[in-house]
């Protein structure tokens, strides 16, 4: 089946998410849709999947214009989608999840669950997945959940499969397995639209590449293009993938984590006996695939989660029983991973967000009484210093772009003397221009002598900032390596392989991942 998008325009209020986009996907093709976060890729795919109605343009299948009033129509037309955030009901079984919406029945609307199970088993067998149809979704690891999503799409005879950022939650090795599945699907004639912002993956698998920037198609490229060509297309100008920085001048190790163990609900071990220390004037980057304990580590340092055992020591003092507030007062600057949930209060004014963790400290408050005038003048100073673009400091912060919101968070956290900086995903959802700014500020903080712990799942960011790299897998610290460690080795470590073994395997060449193979090609 040949799929064409022609002149698709989609607006949200005054914001144009897709501007007259054309796209052609030929049968059996893996078509990469490359673009930054927020470039409009997901919006386009939601249009294609019938979740959004476009203002202009049309969708053609085998040359015939179609109109989708909902996902049901898209599915009927042979389009399947694996969403970035899986569309699975956590408490359902695999069979129920696959059946939902297309339930086999035994008459009178009663479910034929045996038939649903059979279908899962049949498709699993065809692709060599081992998925138990009676397993409950929330008990499955993300890789398996993704396969359930693929089974779901295939069970409805999808001829075009949209994969929205499918590798975001996978280790490099799991990514390789996914690429194998994609090849298999392609051989069977299924077309794949592969949405990503990761250049290496595109080069490894795509037959055709369409690059999107700010809602427009800015170019087509062949997989043979170099990474910097693709990156240039994607962000619109020559990008400095590196921040200029001096060599670190590390001082004493003033911050350390000792044998930290965090246990979650159902006795699952989220952090397992983690120990490390950070010196003044040094950036320790924590690398790893999302969900391997990095978030819990950052939260434990701030005191948001209570460790079962272990110590956290800053400037010689055990933070143990101290509250979040006491830790902040002790000089911890904290940039949370999920800005909109943990970093800002959407309905609060910008000036209020700038004092979110300082509202009861001098000079913003005196006793129980706040001092609105001081809050305003101090806030306006920081707007200048951090180059925050806004029309009024009194407007809710939700009126700002992601990059400017992040600058507000940084202004708040870096705008006071720090003894430790903990920043998780400091540039997630931030535009390219602001990324450079954020990185420069972090390095400046390092150079001022603050020990920095930076959690990032983006290897580029890790390489850009780190003086040492700690790799986490399943709650454990796999190892701490120098910043010039090859990607392959980091990749293996991110899948739980210890440093020595990873080095050996990479040197013998047996375990180089496909992605890095493509990089070398």
């Amino acid at each position: 089946m040949k799929l064409e998008l022609s002149g698709i325009t989609k607006r949200f209020g005054s914001f144009t998410a897709n501007d007259s986009i054309d796209l052609v996907v030929t049968p059996g093709e893996i078509h990469a849709l490359l673009g930054e976060n927020g470039a409009g890729k997901s919006t386009l795919m939601n249009v294609l999947y019938g979740l959004y109605a476009p203002e202009e343009g049309e969708i053609l299948i085998d040359g015939r214009a179609v109109r989708f009033s909902g996902p049901g129509d898209a599915v009927a037309a042979g389009i399947g989608m694996v969403h970035q955030h899986f569309m699975l009901v956590p408490v359902f079984t695999v069979a129920e999840s696959v059946a939902l919406g297309y339930e086999p029945t035994r008459g009178a609307g009663m479910m034929d669950l045996a038939e649903a199970r059979r279908k899962v088993e049949e498709i699993s067998a065809r692709f060599g997945f081992s998925i138990d149809p009676d397993a409950v979704i929330e008990d499955l690891p993300v890789g398996a959940q993704q396969r359930v999503e693929i089974i779901k799409a295939l069970s409805r005879d999808a001829e075009v499969l949209i994969l929205d950022e499918p590798t975001a939650v996978l280790t490099p090795q799991e990514t390789d397995e996914l690429i194998g599945i994609m090849r298999q699907l392609k051989e069977r004639g299924t077309s794949i639209v592969f949405i990503t912002h990761k250049l290496r993956e595109v080069k490894a698998i795509a037959d055709e590449i369409t690059v999107i920037r700010r809602g427009r198609v800015v170019g087509q490229a062949a997989p043979e293009s170099t990474e910097s060509e693709l990156a240039g297309l994607m962000v619109g100008r020559e990008v400095h993938l590196t921040t200029d920085k001096e060599a670190p001048e590390p001082g004493d190790a003033t911050f350390s984590v000792e044998n930290l163990t965090v246990v979650g609900g159902g006795e699952s071990v989220l952090l397992d006996d983690v120990s490390f220390s950070v010196r003044r004037g040094e950036v320790l980057a924590i690398a790893g695939v999302d969900g391997n304990g990095q978030s819990e580590l950052a939260e434990a340092i701030l005191g948001l989660v209570a460790p079962r055992t272990g110590r956290i020591v800053l400037d010689g003092r055990d933070l143990g029983e101290r509250s979040v507030k006491e830790r902040l007062r002790a000089g911890i600057g904290f940039v949370p991973e999920d800005r909109s949930t943990d970093g800002v209060i959407a309905g609060f004014a910008i000036r209020e967000n700038m004092i979110l963790d300082l509202y009861d400290a001098e000079p913003y408050a005196k006793g129980l009484s706040m001092r609105p005038a001081v809050v305003r003048t101090e806030g306006e100073k920081k707007v200048e210093e951090f180059d925050i673009r806004l029309s009024s400091i009194d407007h809710p912060i939700s009126t700002l772009s992601g990059g400017n919101q992040q600058k507000v968070v940084l202004a708040r956290e870096l705008g006071r003397p720090l003894r430790l900086l903990v920043a998780s995903q400091p540039t997630r959802g931030v535009d390219v221009g602001s990324i450079e700014f954020v990185h420069r500020r972090i390095i400046a903080e390092r150079d001022a002598g603050t020990p920095c712990v930076i959690v990032s799942t983006e290897l580029d960011e890790v390489y850009n900032l780190a003086d040492r790299i700690a790799v986490m897998y399943k709650g454990r610290l796999v190892g701490i390596v120098p910043p010039d460690t090859p990607r392959d080795v980091l990749g293996l470590m991110m899948a739980g392989v210890p440093e020595d073994e990873a080095l050996a395997r990479v040197e013998s060449g047996e375990d180089a991942t496909e992605i890095s193979a493509a990089e070398e090609a």
């Binding site: 979740l51 049901g72 359902f92 939902l100 339930e103 799991e174 454990r476």
Partner: protein, 427 residues
């Protein structure tokens, strides 16, 4: 998954803290039984008779007579031992099976009744149970209504209003048409009308569902009070004459001792309730409708992406649920042979909500909780007429206290449907 490392084993000192909540509750109740009902219960030398017979038994069950003091003391000892067992299990991070709280509860109840009945001598078991079922009827209907709504993602605080509206319309229509069965048809319509308002504001305008529920309750109280004071009072012969659904004994089943008169000598409304519970249970877990309903209550967007019309399904389900609650309301008037009275639902809608939560959003659980509440209420009424030393007001508090303990996590994790109360889609 490739190089998956085995999940690390926890060493002993890392184990979860011991959960003392339930053992403490067991211990407190056990000690209360042993000392309060037993040793110092003042029942020495007396007897308690549990009487089972009613007029129309096929064969009669003999009364059970026990010596009050030794029985209560004995039960107290067993309960304290059971509490000790629960504590021992807790130190091993284990929990006893489901039978444990059931057996414990029944034994506690038995000891309590033995003590309470020692003064008057006679506990009429069958009427006690029959009355409990009767008082549970609106609760069960209401809980089913709440359950269907919340399972689809709509929180319904307006059950109270729906019960009241059902009671009102059932009485008025039955009275006007001189036919109680006409009231049975009208009641669900009243409940569904309230649901129309609920869904209109909740789904169309995203008004917070709890707020609408509370306000709708006030609205229904206002409307029914107003109409009662004007139309119904001006002409009670036409609009508010008593109409009563006849009891329809089911042949054979109604003759079973104890169970028969309790369950099978009832009005058609009660039989409808049995059917509603059974149907909802089967459909919710075994039908296409049920799968989709649970999906839109847990993860509406996932349902949307497979072509399920989330908001339309929510509206339909909430309207059906409203009808069910309306039927429950009919119990107050035509189901009990009473004329309509101001605010006669008297907070039962809120208890129905509690029953749904205590029953962990499952139909069978909700029924069990509703029966428990009905029983506590009837026990309160019965004991106060018997002149036992138990203050009925305090007894009547019991269901509410139990529910608070339940939502505070004493009876295991209670997890509501994930999307309940959250509007879906673009405004």
């Amino acid at each position: 998954m490739t190089t998956a490392a085995a999940t690390p084993q926890l060493t002993a000192d890392l184990r979860a803290p011991i959960d003392w909540k339930l053992p403490v509750v067991y211990a407190v109740l056990g000690v209360l039984t042993l000392f309060g009902f037993g040793l110092f219960g003042g029942a020495a030398g007396r007897h308690t008779v549990f009487s089972f017979s009613t007029g129309r038994d096929f064969f009669s069950v003999p009364d059970l007579t026990v010596s009050s003091w030794p029985t209560a003391v004995g039960a107290g000892i067993v309960l304290v031992m059971m509490a000790a067992a629960a504590a021992w299990l807790a130190t091993r991070r284990e929990k006893p099976g489901v039978w444990f709280p059931v057996v414990y509860g029944l034994l506690f109840l038995f000891a309590f009744l033995t003590w309470a009945g020692a003064d008057t001598g006679r506990i009429p078991v069958t009427p006690l149970l029959a009355g409990a079922l009767a008082l549970s009827v609106p609760l069960i209907f209401g809980a089913m209504c709440g359950l269907v709504g919340e399972r689809s993602g709509i929180i319904n605080i307006a059950i109270e209003g729906q019960l009241l509206a059902g009671a009102f319309l059932a009485a008025v229509v039955a009275s006007a048409l001189r036919n109680p069965y006409a009231g049975l048809v009208a009641a669900p319509i009243a409940g569904a009308l309230v649901a129309v308002l609920l869904t209109f504001f909740a789904i169309r305008y995203w008004v917070d569902q709890i707020i609408i529920g509370v306000v709708l309750n006030v609205l229904v109280v206002g409307l029914t009070n107003f109409l009662f004071s004007t139309v119904l009072t001006a002409n009670p012969e036409t609009w508010n004459a008593r109409q009563s659904l006849p009891t329809v004994p089911i042949p054979l089943l109604a003759d079973i001792p104890v169970i028969g008169p309790v369950f099978f000598n009832q009005t058609i409304l009660v039989y409808l309730m049995y059917a509603a519970v059974a149907v909802i249970h089967v459909l919710l877990f075994h039908s296409r409708w049920g799968l989709r309903t649970r999906a839109i209550g847990e993860h509406p967007k996932a349902a949307d992406t497979v072509g399920i019309r989330v908001n339309r399904s929510r509206v339909v389900n909430t309207l059906i649920a409203g009808g069910i609650a309306g039927l429950g309301g009919a119990f107050f008037t035509i189901g009990s042979g009473l004329a309509f009275g101001k605010e006669m639902s008297a907070g039962q809608g809120y208890i129905a909500l509690a029953a749904m939560i205590l029953g962990k959003w499952s139909p069978m659980g909700a029924v069990a909780a509703a029966l428990l509440f009905g029983f506590a209420r009837n026990l309160g009424n019965t004991l106060s007429t018997m002149g036992t030393p138990v203050p009925s007001d305090l007894l009547l508090m019991l269901p509410y206290i139990v529910t608070i303990f339940a939502v505070a996590g004493f009876v295991g994790r209670v997890r509501p449907p994930a999307a309940a109360g959250k509007p879906y889609g673009a405004q």
